[in-house]
Symmetry: C2
Subunit: 199 residues, 2 copies
């Protein structure tokens, strides 16, 4: 960019590194930030540093937390016999929003992806097995994503977990609620047929 | 958002206030920032504060600058008899990218918009007239946007500037270079016809 003054160019470069922020968006954001009240920019910068500084992984389930153990793990009202295994902390947010689950979680922080060099050792799988030894878990629900990596991770985990003697289940695949049959893709539809339930 | 820890919720709220950032994007950015190396988050926060702290308006043309007078105004190689009037500092970036203009600029910081309560006193119009008294300007090119507010501002400025005895021109409207006639809107096409030039 010709003629962009250094503090602006620097902010632009930093913003461009964020996911989903292209050069036009970065420029628009940079100009907006310069127009913002100084106080608001200070709030944003502080929020960035505090989020990064105070948030770390829960020592038990690897969810994000600003304490040693996250608020879900410490909640005595939750079913402590069930663990729902998810790929990322944001999946917990989605699960909690559904209000359909009241057990504990375990965050793998990724999914198996040999092409990207992500093997079992890069995920929090060992820690999941350590929990099985320490806690009295009766069921593990595998809620990894419904893509190639997520399915591979689910299959891998199921094979490892079965000999342990714990019940292993996978969240259902099917037609989204409110979804039109007409617009469903073939794979989803065949999964929905396969997993049909008697009424 | 249920169960979002405070530093994360705070960052999410701050990000959501940026233009074009909805709740899903804010959440994605927040999780990305927490996953970023601490050093990179520090760089981003510093870039924010430095851009806001060090950038202000050029005292002459009201472009953004980190000095008293911007690099365009201080550039002795530029034609100092022409002023191009634009709405925003980012318009200067676009003009400079075209490499078609070598004069000075004047940033109005907006356009006339009575419905939004923006009148002549809210724009840097008085400062433009002060420059006409101090500098030896022979032509003013009005390059406000080609929308209702931009056109109103251009007409208003032209009426004010003509009695001063300076040449006033407006950037041309017409078919974008590389644009198909077929896809041009009627208003652009009629403008292109109206402004036709002999070959």
């Amino acid at each position: 960019m010709a003629r962009m003054i250094k503090p602006l160019a620097n902010l632009y470069e930093q913003l461009r590194r964020l996911p989903g922020v292209g050069s036009k968006t970065a420029l628009r954001l940079a100009y907006h930030i310069i127009d913002m009240p100084a106080e608001d920019v200070q709030h944003l910068a502080t929020a960035l540093l505090e989020a990064k500084g105070h948030i770390h992984y829960c020592q038990r389930c690897f969810n994000l937390t600003d304490a040693e153990i996250c608020s879900i793990c410490t909640d005595a009202g939750r079913d402590s016999y069930t663990i729902c295994v998810v790929e990322q902390p944001q999946d917990i947010v989605a699960m909690e929003r559904s209000r359909g689950y009241h057990g504990l979680y375990h965050v793998l922080h990724g999914a198996l992806s040999p092409l990207d060099g992500i093997g079992p050792d890069n995920l929090r799988i060992r820690e999941l097995f350590q929990r099985l030894q320490r806690e009295s878990i009766t069921e593990i629900i595998i809620a990894t994503n419904s893509n190639v990596e997520g399915e591979a991770t689910a299959t891998y985990l199921a094979q490892l977990l079965k000999p342990v003697g714990v019940k292993v289940s996978r969240i259902a695949h099917g037609l989204p609620v409110g979804g039109d049959l007409e617009y469903a893709d073939e794979v989803t539809l065949s999964k929905a047929l396969e997993n049909r339930r008697e009424m």
